[in-house]
Symmetry: C2
């Protein structure tokens, strides 16, 4: 898995669209494959963000630390998820969050500039990514609504549906900080659900 | 304002991009102008969503009612905002929220199918909308993070920056239900800020 071929990963990412051989070869030149170890950081709050990241395997987490030193988790990215600080990435400005690796990961990275070139040269990818972004936007709307309207217990149930098996990888306080609850509340909810 | 010409509104929407006369005329055929009165509903939870809406003037609100009958506000849309239930709109499925008019509004509506035709025939609009969607996605990420990490007071301050002058139009419980707090907490915060 460690030396998984970049071409193979890109074939997986774009398996649902038809690319000519020439287009695919162009795509390959725009992505870089990296391996991250647990505890490594992609960028921290205040860094300029040049890349977005595709997780082939492993797990990344985006989070911010508030003025009281408390962590808040925005997103986990497991297999087939994209992650970045999108406010910073889309405008190449300073990150308002950090991204760390919480399980050894194989990741492809691509810069904003490369994405723009891809959209220009390979319109099929522009359409494919637009549809992915539409879905991501709709999912984020749902998350805002769930955070406003659901109990912590229902949010936890949604969370384990969205991220099956993630509980073996991430710490309890990561999950609690994603749900916006205390670690003790998470333990109580789990106990309730197993009863 | 009532009979504001649709062509003029569309020129405003797309003022930052160059369209040929032919392209612009094609765009015009895809949008329909409607006027909504206070209290009118665009769609309710459970309706199939065919359209997204551009607010030229006035104010719309998207919200859901939870199992306890409590309202939660996802978004207000004032001049130059787009609004829909995007989960439902992007896949032409049933709405999980409702949209109502809270101040007499001039609105353009466009169907999913028309948008797809526009993206195909007018690539400049595809790019323009992709960039708008990227910004909207980034803003929604920021909102999730703010909801997790900021105090109600700071969220209220962000809210009045995002929606200046909206407090004259919307009810207090709308704002409270957007911030995820009780109406009494909103009154307390306002009192604190004026002192």
């Amino acid at each position: 898995m460690k030396n998984k071929n970049k071409n193979k990963i890109l074939s997986d990412i774009y398996k649902d669209i038809s690319l000519t051989k020439e287009e695919f070869n162009f795509v390959v030149t725009k992505f870089e494959q990296i391996t991250l170890n647990k505890g490594e950081t992609l960028f921290r709050e205040g860094d300029i963000v040049y890349y977005q990241y595709y997780v082939y395997d492993g797990c990344l987490r985006s989070y911010l630390i508030d003025n009281f030193g408390k962590e808040h988790t925005l997103q986990f990215a497991v297999k087939d998820w994209w992650i970045s600080d999108y406010t910073a990435f889309f405008s190449t400005t300073k990150a308002i969050m950090s991204i760390e690796c919480i399980q050894k990961s194989t990741v492809l990275k691509v810069s904003r500039k490369s994405m723009e070139q891809l959209y220009k040269e390979v319109p099929t990818i522009a359409t494919f990514n637009r549809i992915k972004l539409e879905k991501a936007y709709a999912n984020l709307q749902k998350r805002v609504l769930k955070n406003l309207s659901q109990t912590a217990k229902d949010r936890y149930i949604s969370f384990i549906k969205t991220y099956p098996n993630i509980e073996q990888i991430v710490k309890n306080y990561h999950i609690a900080s994603y749900l916006g609850i205390a670690t003790e509340s998470l333990s109580r909810i789990r106990k309730e659900l197993t009863q």
